[in-house]
Symmetry: C2
Subunit: 490 residues, 2 copies
């Protein structure tokens, strides 16, 4: 219950962990850094999966599946790529266990050592481009627009449920194109798909931008991103789309004959979002009572709690609400009538608030005689007693309103926590308040690194269509041509 | 095209591989034993996934996700389990790569050795029961009905696309119950779900049975299975459901307080089907021209090929068929109008036959003036010219007929290749013809092993509700109480 959840104001980080655990979303497993996604958490992820999958297919992509293992030598082929991932690779070295000599234990069989070590994929560019080599011969084979839903492993040292785990679930798009323009267009298009999903499904306002070279994906020429702001003012990178240029095509020698019969090297993109989005979802909307979910991602939309003294009263209540249930279900909503008699209504209310059910209906004997029902919306916790006639339509509209309201609320939060500063003192003060800080930057990696070291803030992105603005770098005093977005980040 | 596919009669095994490769279903990857599931193959798997997922949810199961890694010590806890899987485990021993001393290579960082090795899950009983330990305290926490969609790794030495691969995709159900009866009922119920799916969705007739102790899942008290017969007469185990008794609950010390306040040990089941089903689907229905798909699993149901001399004619044809497309799509079918002008109709016909599209429509100038259209069904390759009026309803019925026909055809094949024998000579002769051989067995593992060694046939199952029949074991002459089903198997 809410009693078990630390208040946000008290300890935001503990609030998050309490909420994830108590709302039955996920928990740590016996394997360091790996989580168990519990049924309720997984059902939200399934909804995200289904919505994204629809959007990918609507933009011409098809799903496929590539091996979980990547030969070590594949990594070495793209210099930047291996540099980025080598330090966090799970390495498979053997393929058999056996009884120990004394028969008391199970040990690795040293006779079953792999000739070449295999890496559990942290991302699949290398194995996929090694495959594309055989698929691409002519311009007619292009573009290839493929997505993969998979698990990946990055051996992170400090992990947090959903936000940073050694294993996570994600999707990774990998596309191949005949021209640079087409690849760039694809990378931008998928960024738009992510932004659309974040804002219109997850109800999370996001900033679209491009990463600085320092923050790029290992092996990319450009990394586009969407950045969201959590309720503690910290940024969370919610999705990235990479323009990979010809780096992987060159590393794996992927060429095609163009219309003129000449050999050219293929252009590439990759893009991904992961179960990290669950963290973003939780930290954007939820409150001290528990989860707040956008109706578009809620596994359960409406719960009806009958208020009764004797069990016999339940039937009369059920008869009254049955048409509402039918009507809502026919409109695609999931409805639960909770007639359990071993828990009191108050306990149930708290439980459904914790789980973020968008609308709760309560109905008792007095309501029956008045032909009314109590409607409580999860986002504001406002209660209203309305007529039962037409309550189904009322709820349909309310869902829409909740979806919009939580987006607007998050947007307002972001606006109130966005600052323009010109001096380093103001910069540090703004960072301490929490939020996005728009500040001039001289464009060098050195300055970026120094600021990170001194303040723990990183450049989250250079917003797309960023206005040019002559200015002076707040740290070095060198000229700056535009403001970039700094923040402390997850 | 079909030209590239070896005929079944010539070399069944090569026919299978040719078909899988040429119909763009899957291919071998650069990683030994791991396959790439190509978009067309994956789209069929997605349909299987979606149908099964619906059936699991309709029977009260919820999805969740558990770690891909299992600590080595977990395996050792259940003696039979580790015996069954130790010889085919991918073992993670390190978590970092680094540059070699000479800087020329990437090597495993020996400083990053794991304290305890991790196994890439070959199945998840151990990690899941270690988790359930914390979820189960009282009878109120039971039953737990959870399913997981995941990839698993079993280091098979001889691999074949879909049928036996080092990595494969599957679902694994893991349930926990208060009583033995309830667990047994669950195991049987899920076997029925699998049989229902195999017969009514995949159109594959299956035999429901129970495995002999020798063939049981490592750690199970009973393994129920569905067995299908391929077109070469070999058996393919298409799904298994295990009654695990209290083995894993004991190994991980999972107890609950019953209604009387006494501690009891929990009962378990697990059940799974995998991408192996793709192999069963292909080998049950397909022919020398390519794939034959049951309409319920076809990613593309209807293809319309316009027959035209000049490109301008396409428009008139399209106008004519557009209402058919709309009507079929509104009924849930996927329809493609293939107006590509760089391939001839004959080439297209062969291509769609290869891909197993259930219904092909062809329409040209003469059809336009006659108000007719040619309908070709993939299962029989029969063509019929019918009136365009009402062709949509005709096709809807045809889909149903195809679904039923390929099931009946497979059932007939199985009946024609099922033999009752009483002597070892007849047994061997029947095996060589290919098929299921119902023969008396004395019930001992020794006889079973000898038969396997001498004939390569295994006991596929003891059919459920098997009639008792006094007999004499064909090999040992010892008494037998029932016939069991022998076959050579995939």
């Amino acid at each position: 219950m809410a009693d078990f959840i630390t208040k946000r104001a008290e300890d935001y980080s503990k609030w998050y962990t309490d909420l994830v655990t108590n709302a039955d979303l996920a928990e740590n497993s016996a394997v360091r850094g790996c989580m168990v996604i519990k049924p309720y958490g997984y059902s939200i992820w399934e909804k995200m999966h289904d919505e994204l999958d629809k959007m990918f297919k609507a933009t011409g992509h098809k799903n496929a599946y590539f091996p979980i293992f990547i030969p070590k030598s594949f990594f070495a082929r793209e210099a930047e790529h291996v540099k980025g991932f080598a330090k966090e690779c799970a390495v498979v070295t053997h393929y058999r266990l056996k009884n120990s000599a004394d028969g008391k234990d199970i040990v690795v069989d040293e006779d079953a050592k792999l000739e070449e070590e295999l890496i559990v994929r942290p991302t699949s560019e290398t194995i996929i481009w090694n495959t594309y080599k055989n698929w691409i011969h002519s311009y007619r084979d292009l573009p290839i627009l493929i997505n993969q839903w998979a698990n990946v492993v990055r051996w992170e040292m400090r992990t947090r449920l959903f936000l940073r785990t050694a294993e996570f679930l994600w999707q990774e798009g990998h596309t191949a194109h005949a021209t640079k323009e087409e690849a760039l267009e694809e990378a931008r298009k998928m960024l738009d798909v992510y932004a659309d999903f974040a804002e219109n499904v997850m109800a999370i306002p996001v900033l679209k931008g491009v990463k600085t070279p320092t923050e790029r994906f290992a092996g990319a020429l450009d990394t586009f991103c969407i950045e969201a702001m959590m309720q503690d003012g910290k940024a969370l990178q919610a999705g990235t789309s990479h323009f990979l240029g010809q780096n992987f095509a060159k590393a794996f020698d992927v060429k095609f004959l163009n219309r003129e019969g000449k050999q050219e090297t293929v252009w590439a993109t990759s893009w991904g979002v992961s179960t990290r989005l669950m963290g973003a979802l939780i930290m954007t909307h939820s409150d001290d009572n528990g989860l707040v979910l956008p109706p578009k991602l809620a596994p359960l939309h409406v719960v009806i709690v009958p208020i009764f003294k004797k069990v016999e009263e339940i039937n009369a209540i059920y008869d009254k609400v049955q048409p509402i249930i039918k009507s809502l279900e026919s409109k695609g909503f999931t409805v639960k009538f909770d007639d359990a008699d071993n828990q009191k209504p108050g306990w149930k209310f708290a439980q459904y608030e914790l789980q973020g059910v968008p609308v709760r209906l309560a109905i008792g004997a007095r309501d029956l005689s008045n032909n009314t029902i109590e409607v409580c919306r999860r986002d504001t916790l406002e209660k209203q007693t309305v007529s039962i006639d037409g309550v189904d339509d009322y709820i349909v509209n309310l869902m829409d309103e909740i979806q919009k309201n939580i987006f607007q609320k998050a947007l307002k939060y972001r606006e109130e926590h966005s600052y323009k500063v010109d001096t380093y003192d103001d910069f540090k003060a703004a960072l301490d308040k929490g939020g996005f800080v728009y500040a001039p930057w001289d464009g060098t990696a050195e300055t970026e690194a120094r600021i990170k070291e001194e303040t723990k803030a990183t450049i989250r992105c250079i917003p797309l269509n960023n206005p040019l603005e002559d200015g002076v770098d707040m740290l070095t005093g060198k000229p700056s041509t535009q403001r970039v977005v700094f923040a402390r980040a997850y």
